[in-house]
C-alpha cells in the first residue's frame, strides 16, 4: 500500500512536469545560437522527457504515446530535414550547405538566410537526437524484445 501511494505521487508529478520539460527542450533548440544550447542539447532534453514517462509509468503506457514505428520515422526524418536544407542550397546554385542561396526562396537577404539555414539544421538535429536517445534507451531496457512490457 505504501508503494501504491508513492507511485501516485510520482505519476502526478511527472504528468505535471513533462510538458514543461518539453517546452524547455524546444526553447534550448531554438536559442542555440545565442545562449547555451543548440540542436543536440535540446534534443537530449526532449528525450529525457520521454524517458521520464518510461520510468514513472509502464512501458506500455510510453508505447501508447510514442510507438516504435514513430520513433524510427523520426530517426530519419530529422536527418532528412538537415540534408534537405543542404540539397535546397545545392539546387539553387551554391555549394552544399551554402545557406546564403536560400535567400532566393525566403524573402530575406543572404545573411539572414544563413541564420534561418542554421536554425533549420538545428531543428533537424534536435528531432533526430531525441528519437535516437529514446530508441537507445528502449533497446537497452527491453534487450531487443519490444513485445514484452517489463517494469
Amino acid at each position: 500500500m505504501i508503494i501504491l501511494m508513492e507511485d501516485i505521487i510520482i505519476k502526478t508529478l511527472c504528468r505535471f512536469l513533462i510538458p514543461f520539460i518539453q517546452l524547455f527542450g524546444l526553447y534550448v533548440i531554438a536559442h542555440g545560437h545565442g545562449s547555451p544550447g543548440g540542436g543536440f542539447q535540446g534534443g537530449c532534453i526532449l528525450a529525457a522527457s520521454f524517458v521520464l514517462i518510461l520510468i514513472a509509468f509502464d512501458l506500455a503506457e510510453a508505447k501508447k504515446r510514442f510507438s516504435e514505428k514513430l520513433n524510427n520515422f523520426f530517426n530519419s526524418f530529422g536527418v532528412l530535414i538537415y540534408t534537405w536544407t543542404g540539397w535546397m542550397c545545392l539546387l539553387l546554385g551554391g555549394n552544399y550547405l551554402d545557406y546564403g542561396r536560400l535567400s532566393k526562396i525566403l524573402p530575406v537577404d543572404p545573411v539572414q538566410a544563413r541564420y534561418y539555414g542554421v536554425f533549420a539544421v538545428e531543428v533537424g538535429v534536435g528531432i533526430t537526437v531525441m528519437a535516437v536517445m529514446v530508441s537507445i534507451f528502449l533497446d537497452l531496457i527491453t534487450g531487443g524484445k519490444h513485445e514484452e512490457a517489463s517494469e
Binding site: 543548440g38 543536440f40 533497446d139 537497452l140
Partner: protein
C-alpha cells in the same frame, strides 16, 4: 591513462567499456581546456542583444571552435557507447556471463 589501464587490465566487459568512456571524456575535456584564453575570457554570449547592438570584440570571448568540435566528439562517444552496450547485451544473452575469461573458455569449447 586511467582509462587505458581499465581497458586492458579489467576482466569484466562492462568495466572495459567504462574505461573506454573515461578515455574518451578525458580527451574531450582536454580539447575544451584548450579553448580558454589568458586573462579570464568569458563565454561567447552577447548580453542584452535584443535592443541595442553593441559590437562584440572577439578578444573578450573564449574560443568557441573547440567546443563545437567537442560537441561532435561527445555525440560520437555516446553512439560508440550505445553500440558497445548493445553488443554487451548480445554477448550476455549468448554466454550468460560478462567475464572475459569465461567467455573465451566457452568459445574454445565451442570451437573444438
Amino acid at each position: 591513462m586511467l582509462g587505458f589501464y581499465a581497458i586492458i587490465g579489467k576482466r569484466n566487459l562492462v568495466k572495459k567499456l567504462l574505461g573506454l568512456n573515461i578515455f574518451q571524456w578525458a580527451i574531450i575535456l582536454y580539447y575544451v581546456s584548450i579553448a580558454s584564453k589568458k586573462g579570464g575570457a568569458n563565454i561567447p554570449i552577447v548580453t542584452g542583444a535584443h535592443g541595442h547592438y553593441e559590437p562584440a570584440q572577439a578578444i573578450q570571448f573564449l574560443n568557441p571552435l573547440p567546443h563545437c568540435l567537442m560537441l561532435t566528439a561527445i555525440v560520437v562517444g555516446v553512439s560508440t557507447t550505445g553500440v558497445a552496450l548493445a553488443l554487451i547485451i548480445m554477448i550476455h544473452r549468448r554466454y550468460k556471463t560478462l567475464e572475459e575469461d569465461e567467455i573465451l573458455e566457452s568459445l574454445e569449447a565451442f570451437k573444438k
